[in-house]
Amino acid sequence: MTLTEKKEIIEENRKNQMKSAIKEDSNLLLQVKNLKTYFYTEEGIVKAVDGVSFNIYKNEVLGLVGETGCGKSVTALSILRLVRSPGRIIEGSIEFNNINMLELSEEEMRSHRGNDITMIFQDPLNSLNPVILAGDQVAEVFLLHQEEELNKILDVHLLERDKLVQELKELKKEFKENKEQLSETEKEEFKVKIKDFKKKIPKAPNLKDVALEKAEQIIKEVGIADAKQILKRYPHELSGGMRQRIMIAMGLSCTPLLLIADEPTTALDVTIQAQILDLMKNLQKKFDTSILMITHDLGIIAELSDRVAVMYSGNIVEYATAEDLFKNPRHPYTQGLIGAIPSVEKKDKKLTVIRGMVPNLIYPPSGCRFHPRCTERLEICDKIKPRFLEIDDRYFIACHLFDPEYKESPKYQWDETEIKESYKV
């Protein structure tokens, strides 16, 4: 191989890389940059989300993991701009299909919600309105976002019906014209014919009927066999799994570009969990939807996600492809999380424990928020907030251990009593 040939190959490789980079960019669906959502409570400002950045690409499943109260759900709600007072998005940008969501009017935002960005919530019992029929709740989404399509379908239905009505009229006319020539029995037969024909003509449908028809289809799609029956049930008459299926049906009814699933399986038992996850996997492929999967279950993340973002106390601390992250977790927090998963291989070993508690978000620890619980802590950790660095190809981490600038910083010596203290709950 000559040198020029080699150069050519290198050149081509670089071109390919460039191409894929560009392709990736055009595939970008959602870009969250430095998002800060604070809650202004009477006790103080709760910094629930404090500078979170991540991307979601088309057809990708991004897993967002973290302990309870680390700001996962608030991040999700911020994307839909559903954070309720006293919470407020104070900084950052959320670009969805190159539109900055934070600059849209409430009216414009509404046309996105439930249409191209949808959300599935944690507790399917409380997430469905208890006094409204399941079918009506699903149909509502169509009525809200697909009125034009519904009208088209409705027109077709009405045309069909008009045809039938016309035929009936002609039949009646025929009867009147031939009345005198017909015998009594023939007359009776004719009358019965007209009556039967009348029964054939359906009631004039309205927009809601069409929406319910579509709701029935989508409910079938999520694996409920007797969809027609389910339409007329109230949420409390359905099982937990069915309710979550209805929620998913609602979420997918307008074939969204992004589906945010906020712990969709937490309230369900294990078998139903597996079913729901399978369903989501299949539907994701079928509808070409990106999913933001929020959970604290690493198993779900490993199974579903292409990429994972680990959140701790309002920050993303590690963000990488699922493969890299599970094979070789680098952030001490992620290491702790993965080390805490019980497994058959580790049966003789003790599970690792992340000592201490989730910090108070009103007065978060200085510097790196994880430093009071970190075994690898450096001297610098409580003084300077770590940067969010790309240390490898698409491998982001926020930790001083991997920041070349602080390579020199000495390791922090934990006090024995301090360690003992922090194991207490």
């Binding site: 559903l82 439930g114 919530f121 469905l128 309105n129 006094v131 109230y234 609602m250």
Partner: protein, 338 residues
């Protein structure tokens, strides 16, 4: 079908309540000091006359026997004869004529305070801690703090004396006449006899008393609606509705209101009792000639028959209104199935 069964079951459950009230009022009224025979006879009487009346009124029988007779008469409408007011008039006619008027203002007041209260409560909840909310809550608080009779007098002073736009006394214009008595309900009787002008006149006279009376329950309804609405607005399903892209008004009117109504309906049913008490005061203030004045005279004269009849009517109304509340409850909330 199940609805009919439910109503029937609820109805049967009411019977012990009614029976208890009837029994209690019967024996309690017998404990009142005073003698109805004396009230009937006036100042001059002989022992013979006394004994004759005692026998005629059935008071010489043992009390248990009197009680059994009373229970029987209750169902046949033979509620006895008044010994104090319009002496000799059947209690049935006397009480019904007066009670329907009290009933009218109480029902009108509960309807108005429910409609206004729910509306105000929802506005209060959606404008939480904003000026509108503060004003509405303040007004409701004032409404509940002012005693009804005093409020009645103030209303009369302002709206029929200073600015004479409403009649301040009585339930009809003098000389306008009465509809023929068919059901004892003035509105229904007027409709049946086709005298619509009587209804207009009647309702016109009821404006001030009903307004005054509706304030009693208004505050409770506003508060309950507000607090349950605030609670519902924090629920997950309201968040789901928002995430679907519902308009804020649809979120409130379709998704939240029905849920928030469930506790409010119960409060309305329960507060109807207060309202009946207030109605007796209000009709005295406005001189409506209702059941209130009747009861006062009956108590003063130990008129057992009138007293028991009035208490029975009031209990029946209260219990029926609460049955209605239960039915509405079932209509709103599908989780309550009969």
């Amino acid at each position: 079908m199940s609805l009919i069964k439910y109503i029937a079951r609820r109805f049967i459950a009411l019977l012990p309540v009614l029976f208890g009230v009837v029994t209690l009022t019967f024996f309690l009224s017998r404990l009142m000091p005073g003698d109805p025979v004396l009230a009937f006879l006036g100042d001059r009487w002989t022992t013979e006359q006394y004994n004759y009346q005692l026998h005629r009124l059935g008071l010489d029988k043992p009390i248990i026997e009197q009680y059994v007779i009373y229970l029987g008469d209750l169902f046949t409408g033979q509620w006895g004869i008044s010994v104090s007011i319009n002496r000799g008039q059947p209690v049935w006619d006397l009480v019904l004529e007066r009670f329907t008027r009290t009933f009218d203002i109480a029902i009108l007041a509960i309807i108005i305070s429910s409609i206004v209260g729910i509306k105000t409560g929802i506005i209060s909840a959606t404008n939480r801690n904003k000026p509108k909310d503060t004003i509405f809550r303040g007004m409701a608080l004032i409404g509940v703090a002012i005693p009804v009779f005093w409020m009645g007098m103030i209303l009369r002073y302002i709206f029929s004396y200073l600015i004479p736009i409403f009649p301040g006394l009585n339930y009809k214009n003098p000389g306008i006449g009465d509809p023929p008595i068919i059901t004892h309900f003035r509105v229904i009787d007027s409709i049946l006899s086709g005298q619509i002008y009587l209804i207009i006149d009647y309702l016109y006279h009821l404006i001030l008393p009903v307004f005054c009376l509706s304030f009693i329950t208004l505050a409770g309804v506003v508060r309950q609606t507000r607090s349950s609405m605030l609670e519902v607005l924090e629920q997950d399903y309201v968040r789901t509705a928002r995430a679907k892209g519902c308009k804020e008004e649809d979120v409130i009117n379709i998704h939240a209101r029905k849920n928030a109504m469930i506790p409010t309906v119960t409060v309305i049913g329960m507060s109807f009792g207060y309202l009946l008490g207030g109605a007796i005061l209000t009709e005295t203030t406005f001189n409506l000639n209702g059941v209130g004045a009747l009861v006062m005279i009956a108590i003063r004269n130990t008129d057992y028959w009138v007293l028991n009849a009035v208490v029975f009517c009031i209990t029946l109304t209260f219990v029926m209104v609460n049955l209605g509340a239960d039915l509405i409850y079932g209509l709103i909330d599908p989780r309550i199935r009969y």
